[in-house]
């Protein structure tokens, strides 16, 4: 038996942990682009902000798209509710609220991550320290994930946590692709300029897939392969298909446990079937941007339905 409010807390705790890490990854990718392509740095930072969904809020506060400003806004700034610091803080508040549902190890790893990041992000980050700060953020979230997977009982508490993780992750990956979809379009791809190569690498880097890509495909970056990897690959842990495989699975466990199916089950299964049966050619033919926009919309709806069906409020 689980309180609706507790399920809600678990769900959002995990969404925010995922988000905290994602911000670090996006800044990491932006930093790499800015270092290698100094001319287009501000454009790159702009697309980083777009992927983070924080572009509008950023421009209200800053004029220039510089590494220092963007890193500050996406990592430290608690007035930005999606920044790493704000996300970790929200995750911890949720964890505090659902503390009785978590193992001691899981709670402590979240609490320690919060303490460590609060210390580390207390002052503006010196640009020289940025790489080590980004590493530290990824390490802290990895520790949380490790203690979570290592100690949590696989029951409804686990399922609701995982739903949060995968809804957030699917949203992140889809947004990253959507911001950069134009560099993946065939009309540009055959130009094959070195700029495109950087762009493609940047996409892969922002989902930490720039190395694993080469294990799966050839060493060359091809836009269709990149899109295929991030959308349809079943084994790539941040691909849309991967996320939906687990979303459908965890929802099925819940449905079997409770002996009750809801609207969210149908929605998740529909999206999963669409991804499983899809080919990257079809997706490009129908329009990559249209596909992604539709996916983001459906994914948001799934989140709303889960909240509704399991009485989060």
């Amino acid at each position: 038996m689980l309180l609706g409010r507790t399920a809600n807390g678990l769900y959002w705790m995990n969404r925010y942990i995922e988000r905290a890490e994602n911000m670090a990854r996006l800044v990491d990718a932006g930093l790499r682009m800015a270092l290698t392509r100094t001319q287009n740095a501000s454009e790159e930072w702009n697309s980083v902000l777009l992927s983070a969904g924080s572009d509008v809020a950023f421009t209200q506060k800053y004029q220039d798209y510089t590494a220092a400003n963007v890193a500050d806004f996406l990592l430290r700034d608690t007035s930005n509710p999606s920044s790493t610091m704000a996300s970790i803080e929200t995750a911890r508040n949720n964890a505090r609220m659902v503390r009785t549902a978590l193992t001691r190890e899981t709670w402590e790893s979240i609490n320690e991550a919060w303490m460590a990041l609060k210390r580390m992000l207390a002052r503006p980050i010196d640009e020289r320290d940025l790489p080590s700060v980004l590493d530290a953020i990824k390490r802290e979230t990895a520790l949380i994930r490790g203690s979570f997977y290592g100690t949590m009982l696989r029951n409804e508490i686990f399922e609701f946590s995982q739903l949060g993780t995968y809804v957030e992750r699917a949203d992140n990956t889809a947004r990253i692709l959507d911001v950069k979809y134009y560099v993946l379009l065939p009309s540009i791809s055959w130009v094959g300029s070195s700029l495109d190569n950087y762009q493609w690498e940047s996409i892969l880097r922002s989902v930490s897939a720039h190395r694993s890509y080469r294990w799966v495909y050839d060493a060359d970056y091809k836009p269709t392969n990149i899109a295929d990897y991030l959308i349809l690959n079943v084994r790539m842990p941040r691909s849309l298909t991967f996320c939906y495989r687990f979303l459908a699975e965890h929802l099925k466990f819940l449905g079997d446990d409770y002996g009750e199916r809801h609207a969210c089950h149908a929605t998740a299964e529909k999206t999963q079937a669409m991804l499983r049966g899809g080919s990257i050619k079809d997706i490009f033919d129908a329009g990559l941007h249209e596909f992604l926009a539709g996916f983001i919309r459906d994914n948001t709806r799934l989140g709303d339905e889960i909240a509704q069906d399991y009485r989060f409020y």
């Binding site: 038996m1 309180l3 609706g4 409010r5 505090r96 609220m97 001691r104 709670w107 409804e156 819940l254």
Partner: protein, 470 residues
């Protein structure tokens, strides 16, 4: 005023309960002890054992300082305390039952009628209501002070929602982590079964009509409450749900919680929400922390609320001064544990005395708690005393006064080695069809030299409390 030191009194030398510990302590490297002290702080911060301080924005989560020198009580001393506490707790429940029914103690003139009738802590809504199993106050914290080898006094009773028991448990846990070898050398009676006892105790007072095992929940005001850590801790340790008002509503004459599978009935609610916020339909209408209609369910006998609403009338500071009479009235025996002599400022003679001796006395608000709104005469400046005297004269019935007692001291570890500090003791008592105490309690210690205020909100710390198995 020389205080009695529980480890090393000036007159008689090292006291027997401390001999084994003292031997161990003398073998320790002081630098290592200092390290252990820092370890302890890290443990507490890591596990998030913090409390919130109202009105402090900056340090919204603070640790209660923990001292690594245990406070040690012999088995014999504990047996005597236990008898006194059990007697007192029995009397408290009998008093509550009487006050909400026949009011015989008022008829007998042993407690003034006005003191009860005009008391805010007295809830007319509880008149004639008999809680499940007849228990009013299920969880009680009795604050005890010591002033010499043989003199123990009750400083106050906490019959509403006494807090701090999680510190008793975590302090022991921390000590066992820091000094495992000590617990092999010295036989200390365990306290860690408190959550199980609490759960059994709550289950035993379930409503009569409960089918099967009762569903128990802890009601918290929420994660921003200063004692939230404790609420979560207890729910977790008992293996019951931690609920907020927003999770609950009345469904078919029962209180139910909203779960992922719909509403589920609750039979026993261990609430850590004050009376006033419990039911907006009965008490404060603006409360969002309670459950609308829970009092109707309660009156119908369909839920146990622990502690029962209205128990505050038993631990009110004005009632406190009548406790010796109350104990005798209901148990037929003299109180084993005495009260501290108390002047009721509502009585003209007492008020006169208090005003004349304000520099020697501790003056407390009748309804205050947490060390707020009190004056410690000997520690106050002349100006502070004068200002307080004005408040006192304006509303005498709002205050009681007590002599400044030389509370016993226990050593704490400071940078300069061991140093004596004043302590008190809060054992926790569970009442169901029986009365149970775990051997130990929360020792609070005033960390400032000479200070008598042990409240955590006023710079107090805590110690592990050992009851020896001898």
């Amino acid at each position: 005023m020389a205080a009695f030191d529980e480890m090393l009194p000036e007159v008689s030398g090292l006291r027997r309960p401390y001999t084994a510990y003292d031997r161990w302590l003398k073998e320790q490297d002081p630098a290592r002890l200092t390290e252990k002290m820092q370890d302890a702080e890290r443990v507490f911060r890591k596990t998030g054992i913090t409390f919130a301080v109202y009105g402090e924005q900056e340090a919204s989560e603070r640790l209660i300082p923990f001292d690594i020198v245990p406070r040690i009580i012999s088995g014999q001393e504990w047996r005597r305390l236990t008898q006194g506490i059990e007697q007192r707790v029995q009397a408290l429940n009998a008093f509550l039952d009487d006050i909400y029914h026949r009011q015989e103690i008022l008829r007998a003139g042993r407690v003034p009628r006005d003191l009860v009738a005009r008391n805010e802590a007295f809830l007319p809504e509880m008149i004639g209501v008999r809680p499940p199993a007849g228990v009013y106050t299920h969880i009680i914290g009795v604050d005890i002070v010591r002033i010499s080898e043989d003199e123990f006094y009750v400083l106050e009773d906490n019959a509403r929602t006494p807090s701090g028991v999680s510190y008793m448990l975590e302090n022991r846990e921390t000590m066992m982590q820091l000094f495992p070898e000590l617990f092999q050398k010295i036989k200390v009676r365990p306290v860690e079964n408190y959550p199980q006892l609490l759960r059994q105790s709550l289950a035993a007072v379930r409503p009569q009509g409960t089918k099967g095992a009762p569903t128990i929940a802890v009601l918290t005001p929420g994660s921003y409450n200063s004692a939230y850590f404790e609420h979560a801790f207890l729910a977790d340790q008992m293996g019951v749900q931690l609920v907020e008002g927003q999770d609950l509503r009345v469904v078919d004459g029962h209180v139910a919680m909203r779960t992922t599978e719909g509403y589920k009935q609750i039979d026993v609610l261990y609430r850590r929400v004050d009376d006033a916020f419990l039911d907006p339909l009965t008490f404060r209408p603006d409360s969002a922390l309670g459950v609308p209609g829970i009092m109707d369910v309660y009156r119908a006998g369909n839920i146990t609320i622990a502690n029962a609403p209205g128990t505050g009338i038993a631990d009110d500071k004005a009632i406190y001064s009548y406790m010796p009479e109350i104990v005798e009235f209901y148990t037929g025996r003299k109180a084993i544990l005495g009260n501290i002599p108390t002047w009721r400022c509502s009585e003209p003679d007492s008020l006169k005395y208090v005003l004349e001796h304000i520099h020697e006395l501790v003056i407390k608000e009748v309804h205050g708690s947490g060390g707020y709104g009190m004056l410690v005469g000997p520690a106050a400046t002349k100006k502070e005393c004068e200002a307080f005297a004005k408040k006192l004269q304006a509303k005498p019935s709002n205050y009681i006064a007590q002599p400044t007692l030389a509370l016993s001291t226990c050593p704490i570890l400071t940078e300069k080695g061991l140093a004596p500090r004043h302590v008190d003791l809060r054992p926790y008592v569970l009442v169901s069809d029986r009365i149970q105490l775990v051997p130990g309690g929360l020792t609070r210690v005033a960390l400032k030299e000479g200070s008598l205020v042990v409240n955590s909100s006023q710079g107090g710390g805590t110690k592990d409390t050992w009851v020896l198995d001898d």
